[in-house]
Amino acid sequence: MKRLTLLAAAVLYCAFASAQGWPTKPVRLICPYPGGPVDLSSRVVAQKLQEALGQPVVVELRPGAGGVIAAEAVAKAAPDGYTLLMGAIATHAINPSLMPNLPYDAIRDFRHIALVVQVPNVLIVNNDLPARSVAELVALAKSKPGRLDFGSGSTGSTGHLAGELFKQMSGTFMVHIPYRSSAPAVLDLLSGRLHLMFDNLASSLPNIKAGKVRALAVTTRRRTDFLPELPTLDESGLKGFDMTTWWGIMAPAKTPPEVVSRLSAEIQKALDMPDTKERLKAMGSETPAVRTPEAFSAFVESEKALYARLVKVSGAKPD
């Protein structure tokens, strides 16, 4: 009888301890996009979390299917706080409208914990294009419908959808040329084979500064500190235009609330540290305005709705 009680006590203690003492073993942060800024920022955050939580936080790369594989894995993972996802705009806002049979629900299957990076896209044109402002570009596009080519990193990417929104709001018709990633698209833009593209700020900044391409506007509502003279698309006549690329930490839906709040607190602390700010700034990110899990959830929902509309308008379907 005594042994039984001891055993029961031990079991209860373990269960109790694992809930209270989280984390007691390494945490996995699943990253869907190896090698790019998402991967890099995952490692930055993982390092900070590791210092704060006292347990290893390991970045696990799970590429594939535009992020679906990683997102699905975390949606279906045990909600014990040991599996996290660096979810992105693609996985949670665009894919739900772009891909018909998504094996997860972007809102219901996840707890959205913290937005980590938010970068604007910037409208860049080839230097030889006779358009020095958004207004001139729109006029040019209207005078030559279907003659301007805009490139993007892939069908359904923010670069593509930004272009589609631009077309819709300005009433112009331009041809979309998809690429495997944004780098070859930038190359073709530099050489004039493409006329314009919406690329993310961080990667195009050097070329803009060096004068190899001309930047016309940013896609966010607010001007960016990196290029303060650059107007926003909203200011340039496309009222209400506001698009960013973003990613942030998420966990399976039923993750215990104490774990969620602890994670949120530590991540926000990390985001405020100067070295983290430096590193993320290098990607063109400024500390996001969204600082709580509830705000993040609301943000994801609004993004999802926005892109549902956009994808439909653009006709982009992997069919």
Partner: protein, 502 residues
Amino acid sequence: MDMTLFSNLALGFGVALTPINLMYCLVGVILGTLIGVLPGIGPVATIAMLLPVTFSLSPITALIMLAGIYYGAQYGGSTSAILVNLPGESSSVVTCLDGYQMARQGRAGVALATAAIGSFFAGCVATLIVAMFAPPLAEIALKFGPSEYFSLMVLGLVAAVVLAHGSVIKAVAMVILGLLLGLVGTDVNSGVLRFAFGISELADGIGFVTVAMGLFGTAEIITNLEMKDEREVFTNKVTNMFPTKEDWKRMWKPILRGTFLGSALGILPGGGALLASFGAYTLEKKVSKYGHEFGKGAIEGVAAPEAANNAGAQTSFIPLLTLGIPSNAVMALMIGAMMIQGIAPGPQVMTEKPQLFWGMIASMWVGNLMLVILNLPMIGMWIKLLTVPYRILFPSILVFMAIGVYSLSNNPFDVLLMMLFGLLGYIFVKLECEPAPLLLGFILGPLMEENLRRAMLLSRGDPIVFFTKPISAGFLIASILLLVILLLPNIRKKREEAFVEE
């Protein structure tokens, strides 16, 4: 000699030769070699993992180490290609063809030495080219658009047929099979998911490493196990470790040709470097007087592609350092590393941060030197490895391959695929169909189609554009010529055969 070049190089060496940079360069190349030897694990995964380590280092030190990993992996990849017929990187596939045969003839040491020497020479020359001609070469890279890439790849495909030493028809069919397998996945131009049958893991296509491990590594193991006696262990036949005078005489011209071809192709961001080793092999086979020995252990078949892929690895830094455009996944990571360090990669790096630019170039040379010094003595060790009985060797190879492939996306599906390709590879061996042309088609297929369709999109459906653009036209004409050269002897032979039978 240009004085500014001299002073720049002096500046560069001043940076590269500091103790801390030397140390991290060494760490990088050793790590790179290790990863290159281990199948499956590639520089991309490693660099990504090591990025946090670089946070605490100065930018130039971090980049030196990461670059070392990259070209170190090229050296390591040839080692496993020669010893066990396992290509670690796409660029090592071609080395398997003759390198492994040389190993079977007891000349593994010579093959390894040739690879190291060829790579070193190519590395030095290519580094010089980067130093002297980076900006003008970058301009050339800009001239290559979809039409040019397509035509280049057509040339590459025709050359692929040259790779085979058996039946030409079967080789062409294998190339086409490779092309088709490469099309599995999401179509860039339309977003449609092709040939995936609902399996999400196939949405990005079949991985090169998975196919190579399966077709070469796994199939090789199965084939070897099938032999009645234990496969002829190379032990007794290991001759000298070093190349003979005859070998030296035969290897220097292929190394030269490989270096220049590789340097040229490496500049092209759209997949040029992949073609480098294949192209060098093909060129050598047609040009060398020992062409008939290719596929059976010709030393040129190791020297040329090894020089080419190392030269390509060096020159693929050019688009990165001058235009800020990555030529491949590793370069994209380097961009990330640079950005995290606060350096914006792009045209102004050369002028605004000369220590970084020239320091990197100088350390490339230093790294190559370290690699050759490291690798040559290790040849003895590698040869000892070959004397291990196969029944111990093959489970080890299988373990490393499985771990490597699994680590690609932490997904058992990849291991399953590797197994299936292993079975397929076994069947290919039995039916005398060669896997190397398939692999080349596999790499080129999706790129070819993508560029073809994109060129057509940009030209609004006008196919003449391939012939009106000079570079593109040049490649296409070369392809037609090459095709004619290839088929002529065949036609003549068929006529002779027909004659004889009659």
